[in-house]
């Protein structure tokens, strides 16, 4: 637990590689919604915030920091997904 777990590095490198390949294929049309989508996805840090806020024996400090973190991450993920969808709804093909 106190040394680098090579599995994590392995996962990171594969995910980064996959990310590069996927993002390169995103049409430049959608670069703004892409950014707000990835921002919403990165709000998955809420998982870590939930653990420190709710875990057994959490100190008041940890609970306070965790509370703010859960709040911030929720704002991001809710507004991120919704705004992305609002933007994408506007992209219409010809003849509509």
């Amino acid at each position: 637990m106190n040394a680098l777990n090579a599995d994590y590095l392995f996962v990171f490198i594969l995910a980064a590689f996959l990310g590069f390949q996927l993002i390169k294929k995103v049409s430049p049309l959608l670069h703004s919604p892409l950014m707000s989508l990835t921002n919403a996805i990165a709000a998955v840090v809420i998982v870590g915030a939930i653990t420190i806020t709710g875990e057994e024996g959490a100190t008041p400090l940890a609970r306070t920091l965790g509370f703010i973190a859960v709040f911030c991450a929720t704002v991001n993920l809710v507004s991120g997904f919704m705004i992305t969808d609002r933007m994408l709804k506007m992209f219409k093909p010809r003849g509509k």
């Binding site: 994590y8 670069h31 703004s32 921002n39 859960v70 704002v75 933007m87 994408l88």
Partner: protein, 464 residues
């Protein structure tokens, strides 16, 4: 219930990957949002059912409060404010990462973790998280015009920046080697926050697309580092995807300006070139009226519209769309030439024009539109300046030499809608204004485009 947790992480990771895959095209992109949302719900359920989590009161209150802020924000935010929204959401995300890191630090502030991997990962995560937080706040303030968008510089800036960065790294290292020195921790956080501010104040408004993309990347990397520290593979994957996305966008932005990361971050662009132009006022500028422009546009068979940040500032996108509709009705082929750095964030122009009901097939990227421009009858430049400056192509001495431009000057005739003859953001003289095939339409972009569209749809009087 704990058996569910690893599967939740795998399912959420897969859905996030699918989400990005479906973002490749407008026809599947909304499916991508759904996939991301489902992935997020699964991830949150997975976190809530862990046996470590025993108290739910604060979590639920924070989530309800977050939704209460996030939902109105998403519904009410005008599309013109998307760059600011993106900047502030980076600040929120990075703050969350930083605070989680801080809580984890205090949990691990025991001698047994000294010099251990967790400490290094936490320090790296917090450094990135806290600096991204304040840097994004400054970017937000510049975009929202709470502060001037011009670069802020002071004597010895690089030395100060370097000293602050070094200080944060040194204290972070000391804390990683000896986490029991908790009294150093606030200094570490303060230096990281300060460094974020210093990093963005010298960067001007026109470089915001690159900065926002870079901050996007930092926020992702910080999330990934947190995954390393907490041993959470889902965070590693989501952070890596976000980091890769921001990084690629930043590279695209830099390429579109023919500049390096270092130059954008430390170049102080926009305050170096003043005084380069001067004594050239004998050149002739031709100006035209809305009627004359309407007449030429009507007789054209192909028109290319080049929008820039000025269109966003003037909120002219709906009038531009009216112009597009009026010309299309008359059988004129109208395309929009979108430079990657037009506006204040990647893809800014596309969102504005899509909102104004311009079909996305008509929005053409720089590389695809340039071969078509020599055949275009008319190019209409609305609020763009540096992205159509021919000196980037022709003058190796120019401050923007080598920057790829939209070659609007190659169209048979060019109309430029502009308030006055003031130079653009970069302060660089633009020879396109003086070309013999250029006519200036002086005025506010919204009013000018509106009156041209009115002439075309028969609202005006003298078309003959």
């Amino acid at each position: 219930m704990d058996a569910f947790v690893p599967f939740a992480a795998i399912a959420a990771s897969a859905l996030f990957i699918l989400s990005l895959m479906w973002m490749s095209h407008p026809s599947t992109a909304r499916r991508g949002v759904r996939a991301g949302e489902i992935g997020m719900v699964i991830a949150i359920i997975g976190a809530l059912v862990q046996h470590e989590v025993v108290s739910y009161d604060l979590i639920i209150i924070a989530m309800i409060a977050g939704a209460a802020v996030g939902i109105p924000m998403a519904l009410l935010m005008p599309m013109t404010a998307i760059p600011q929204r993106t900047a502030i959401s980076h600040a929120f995300g990075a703050l969350a990462v930083g605070l989680i890191g801080a809580a984890e630090y205090y949990k691990h502030a025991h001698a047994e973790y000294a010099g251990g991997f967790i400490m290094w990962a936490l320090m790296f995560e917090m450094l990135l998280g806290f600096l991204t937080c304040t840097a994004s706040v400054i970017a937000f303030a510049k975009l929202q015009e709470l502060m001037g968008s011009r670069p802020v510089s002071f004597p010895g800036q690089r030395i100060v920046n370097g000293a602050v960065a070094l200080g944060a790294v040194v204290i972070g290292t000391m804390l990683a080697l000896d986490p029991t020195q908790t009294w150093l921790f606030p200094a570490f956080v303060a230096l990281a926050l300060l460094f974020g501010i210093l990093l963005v104040i010298p960067i001007g408004g026109a470089d915001m697309p690159t900065v926002i993309a870079l901050l996007n990347s930092y926020a992702g990397l910080a999330a990934s580092a947190m995954g390393f520290a907490l041993g959470n593979k889902l965070l590693i994957v989501a952070g890596a995807l976000d980091g890769a996305s921001g990084f690629i966008l930043a590279v695209i932005m830099c390429k579109a300006m023919n500049r390096s990361f270092a130059n954008v971050m430390f170049g102080g662009f926009g305050n170096v070139v003043a005084g380069a132009a001067g004594g050239k006022d004998d050149r002739v500028v031709r100006s035209a009226s809305a009627e004359e422009a309407a007449m030429q546009l009507e007789n054209a068979s192909s028109v290319v519209i080049v929008p820039g940040y000025g269109m966003a500032v003037a909120q002219a996108q709906h009038k531009v769309s009216e112009l597009y509709q009026a010309l299309t009705k008359k059988g004129v082929d109208v395309k929009f030439a979108i430079h990657p750095v037009a506006g204040r964030m990647p893809g800014h122009m596309n969102v504005l024009l899509a909102e104004a009901n311009v079909p996305y097939e008509q929005l053409v990227d720089l590389d695809d539109i340039n071969p078509e421009l020599p055949q275009a009858d008319v190019a209409v430049i609305i609020g763009a300046n540096d992205t159509v400056n021919p000196s980037a192509r022709d003058d190796p001495q120019s401050a923007i030499a080598g920057m790829p431009i939209i070659e609007a000057d190659k169209a048979k005739s060019v109309f430029i809608i502009k308030r006055s003859m003031n130079a653009g953001f970069a302060g660089i003289d633009n020879p396109i204004y003086y070309n013999s095939n250029t006519q200036m339409l002086f005025g506010d972009a919204k009013d000018m485009v509106g009156s041209i569209a009115k002439e075309l749809s028969g609202g005006g009087s003298g078309l003959h």
